[in-house]
């Protein structure tokens, strides 16, 4: 009960945080702020991350901020209609990967919209095999493919789930030219579908996440559901920023065994490929620069106060605030790198 009263007091105090709210006369946005997200799920990481930021923004800007899980197609449409700053979008790397993979409904976000500040990373993107798989490591998989064995990887095509697959295919092309044809994608939808494909023996490797699959890695080998991580695509220093206890009973140290430099996938023969799933704002192309600056300033203050970082880390996100200019430049560069990978295996 004490805890509940405390939590409620914190919440009430939070809603009336007059001291930290930005002065009203400065506000270049009239009315409420609607944040549309590129996912239709209210149980996924995009919603969760956006909700954390929305709550903080609501306090900081002293306005109603509502997150709507409308999905990418509808979110881009809503954004196109709203240059006044009342509708903004939060999405992740799928925003430009969808365009690179030619998915319907995805334009080049850097040309059709304005890329805004980045807010966080989900470091959990992972690849797994069944615990009784003959492949112990990612190197085993690469060798098997090089030896002419057909290895099936279950992914959701056209985005975050596919980029690791593309990178692996590219690495095999560089190291064993011609053998990359043996690494084949098995298209699937949700995480449940990918897991099921592994249980049914329809996939040798699946894309998953630390959050969704960690408990499966702790099951005994004779359990049909038991899995093993073979690769986390995140950068080493991203995983190093997670809480020491890691996720579930897999500690940060154990997670680091599956990132570079312990597990490497070459990007061009020299540099290692890494992929951090980053969340960022997207604005209407014609939105006033004053609103862009206003949002940068508000988020900078929120991150300076330090509370949001605790909430994000608690939910296995890595806080990663970059103001609009920096974020756009960084993400544009990231897109260019991945474009090269995707083109090289076409």
């Amino acid at each position: 009960m004490k805890k509940t009263i405390l939590a409620l007091s914190v919440a009430i105090a939070g809603t009336g945080a007059f001291n930290t709210a930005m002065a009203e006369e400065e506000a270049p946005i009239d009315g409420n702020l609607r944040i549309v997200i590129g996912s239709t799920s209210t149980g996924g990481d995009t919603y969760q991350n956006s909700e954390i930021v929305a709550q903080q923004l609501s306090d900081k800007l002293d306005m109603n901020v509502k997150v709507d899980a409308v999905g990418a197609t509808e979110a881009f449409k809503a954004l196109e209609r709203s240059p006044d700053g009342n509708t903004m979008m939060i999405f992740h790397d799928m925003a430009y990967l969808g365009h690179l993979y030619g998915v319907r409904g995805y334009e080049n976000v850097f040309e059709e919209f304005n890329v805004g500040p980045s807010i966080a990373i989900n470091p959990g993107n992972a690849y797994l095999v069944a615990k009784d798989s003959p492949y112990e490591t990612l190197d085993d998989i690469k060798e098997a493919v090089a030896d002419g064995e057909r290895v099936r990887v279950s992914i959701q095509p056209g985005g975050v789930s596919e980029i690791g697959f593309s990178a692996l295919k590219n690495a095999i092309r560089i190291e064993h030219p011609g053998a990359e044809e043996n690494l084949v994608a098995v298209n699937s939808g949700s995480q449940s579908d990918k897991n099921q494909q592994m249980f049914d023996g329809l996939a040798d490797v699946i894309n998953g996440s630390v959050q969704a699959n960690e408990q499966f890695t702790r099951l005994p080998e004779d359990d049909q559901k038991a899995m093993r991580f073979v690769w986390l695509t995140a950068r080493q220093d991203t995983i190093e920023q997670t809480l020491e206890e890691g996720m579930g009973e897999t500690t940060r140290e154990e997670l680091l065994e599956f990132t570079e430099p312990n597990v490497t996938v070459t990007q061009d023969g020299e540099k290692n490929f890494t992929f951090d799933k980053e969340f960022f704002f997207i604005y209407n192309e014609d939105m006033d620069q004053e609103i862009v600056d206003y949002m940068d300033e508000a988020l900078a203050e929120i991150y300076d106060e330090g509370e949001i970082q605790k909430t994000q880390k608690q939910s296995f996100f890595i806080p990663n605030f970059k103001p609009s200019d920096e974020s756009e430049e960084y993400l544009q560069e990231k897109m260019n790198e991945y474009e090269e990978i995707i083109n090289s295996i076409d």
Partner: protein
């Protein structure tokens, strides 16, 4: 029982609040249990996990049950899973037995909810191991089995099957989404439709358009008189509710609750399939199926016990695989993650107290739902006494608000509501049957995904028959269901011709 000492009065208050708000959401056409949970999720940020779960599970149970009210009284399914409730509930309400129908529905809901909570508690890990034996093929066959209800629901079998196929066709318009494992390409539309129909027709606006708006249009054509509706006049001398109505229905209750729990635990099948499947099986196995669809309590019992038993069923894969069984439980994952708790195959063992609390909250929520609904029903049932010239504009307004809100403010959903309202009116005129059409629409897209995925994965048609003993068993049920529908059809035709002969 250590967990009980950790529960505060707030825990119980939040369940009551959750159930109440859930019932309100479920009762408004276009508002669903999923919306209720999504809207209230941010409230749980200020609560600890135990109290947060109490609120969310209350909303879940209340939301699913609330769908019963407009289904019975207005023939508008409050949630997609209460579609089969309209088949017998509304004819009962028309006979002046609205209150009785609602009470039967509530008791059946309570049975289904408690049944599934007990199954969840006792067998969750074992059942989740069984659930993963259902691959694309078995899931397709389950949906196919549910689709066979179309034949037995139809007044005119040929027209019914045509309507069902039309429903499936309508459900396929739009993008074959990559999030479902599709190719992301558009189908079944002209270029000018793309901006509107890229994501296809949304289920809820179609459902409330056909059932809600369509009915209002038909009644409006007949002319709405100013006096109080005739049903309300019969409310006082109506058949009173008595528990004896459940005599001989234990098998129905058990079968329907088992089907609901089972379908709930298969991710990707969808809640509506549960009540449709339970309704079909009741029709196939009951001694006298001839009254079903005309106001038979047994249909109501099958539908409501099945859709409430979804609640426990959908929690099985969530808590033992980390995979939500339906759209509402998908949101619950957010509540867990926010509290730093991971759901997956080891969740129960690692979080025994939370596990006990959840099952307990689910049980309490069911009883609270029963208490609130059972005693409020007398007043709720009076909605049929509201003159139609007041009631119908209110229904239209609620439908529009619900359609606009369901996908967080997409105007085309309101147009969808209107289009299908007019379509429902025209369909009535030309003899297209709405229930088979809507069942085709609800199940069509899942059927397509699993059918295509089965072929992609296994590469031949024979696998549908040879994949597993479960597949063979499902085929037996499918053939039985079809054969039974044909038998019923022939029987009713003979009866009709006999009656004609007697008259002449």
């Amino acid at each position: 029982m250590e967990f009980l000492s950790a529960l505060s009065p707030l825990f119980f208050l939040l369940i009551v609040f959750g159930v109440l708000v859930g019932i309100i959401f479920g009762s408004i056409p276009g508002m669903t249990a999923t919306m209720a949970v999504a809207v209230c999720l941010p409230l749980t940020y200020a609560l600890d996990l135990t109290n947060g779960l109490a609120l969310l599970l209350g909303l879940y149970v209340g939301g699913i049950t609330g769908g019963l009210v407009p289904a019975v009284l207005l023939k508008i399914p409050g949630t997609p899973s209460s579609i089969t409730t309209t088949f017998d509930g509304y004819p009962m309400a028309q006979r002046g037995e609205g209150e009785r129908a609602l009470k039967i529905g509530i008791v059946a809901s309570l049975f289904g909810g408690v049944f599934s909570a007990i199954i969840l508690f006792l067998f969750a890990p074992i059942l989740s191991d069984f659930a993963i034996k259902f691959s694309y093929i078995e899931k397709f066959l389950i949906i196919f089995l549910a689709l066979t209800v179309i034949a037995s629901l139809s007044g005119n079998m040929l027209m019914g099957i045509f309507s069902g196929v039309l429903g499936v066709w309508l459900s396929l318009i739009g993008t074959y989404s990559i999030t479902d494992g599709g190719n992301g390409e558009l189908r079944l539309m002209f270029d000018f439709m793309v901006p509107y129909l890229e994501s296809g027709f949304s289920l809820l606006p179609v459902l409330i358009g056909l059932f809600g708006l369509g009915t209002v249009f038909i009644e409006a054509e007949q002319g709405v008189k100013k006096e109080v509706s005739s049903q309300s006049l019969r409310m006082s001398d109506q058949v009173r509710f008595s528990m004896s109505v459940f005599r001989g229905k234990l098998v129905n209750l058990l079968r329907s609750s088992s089907i609901g729990t089972f379908v709930g635990m298969l991710p990707g099948i969808g809640g509506s399939a549960a009540s449709v499947l339970a309704y079909t099986q009741e029709k196939n196995f009951s001694r006298d199926p001839s009254q079903m669809g005309k106001g038979a309590p047994q249909g109501l019992v099958a539908s409501e016990s099945a859709n409430n038993s979804l609640t426990g069923g959908a929690l099985i894969p969530l808590l033992s695989l980390g995979i939500p069984g339906d759209s509402t439980t998908a949101i619950l994952i957010g509540a867990f993650t926010l509290q730093g708790i991971q759901v997956g195959p080891l969740f129960i063992g690692d979080n025994l107290d939370t596990w006990y609390t959840m099952v307990f909250a689910l049980l309490v929520a069911n009883f609270v739902m029963f208490a609130i609904m059972f005693f409020a029903i007398k007043h709720i049932a009076k909605v049929v006494a509201v003159p139609k010239y007041i009631l119908y504009p209110v229904i239209i307004m609620m439908c529009v608000v619900g359609a606009y809100a369901i996908n967080y403010g997409i105007m085309f959903d309101v147009w969808t509501l209107f289009i299908f309202g007019v379509f429902g009116y025209v369909a009535h005129k030309v003899g297209i049957e709405i229930p088979p059409l809507i069942i085709g629409f609800i199940l069509g897209s899942s059927a397509e995904i699993y059918f295509v995925k089965s072929l992609e994965s296994y590469g031949n048609f024979m696998i549908f028959f040879t994949k597993s003993p479960i597949a063979v068993f499902l085929w037996v049920l499918i053939f039985m269901s079809i054969a039974f529908s044909i038998y019923l059809n022939i029987k009713s035709r003979r009866k009709r011709s006999d009656e004609v002969e007697t008259q002449t």
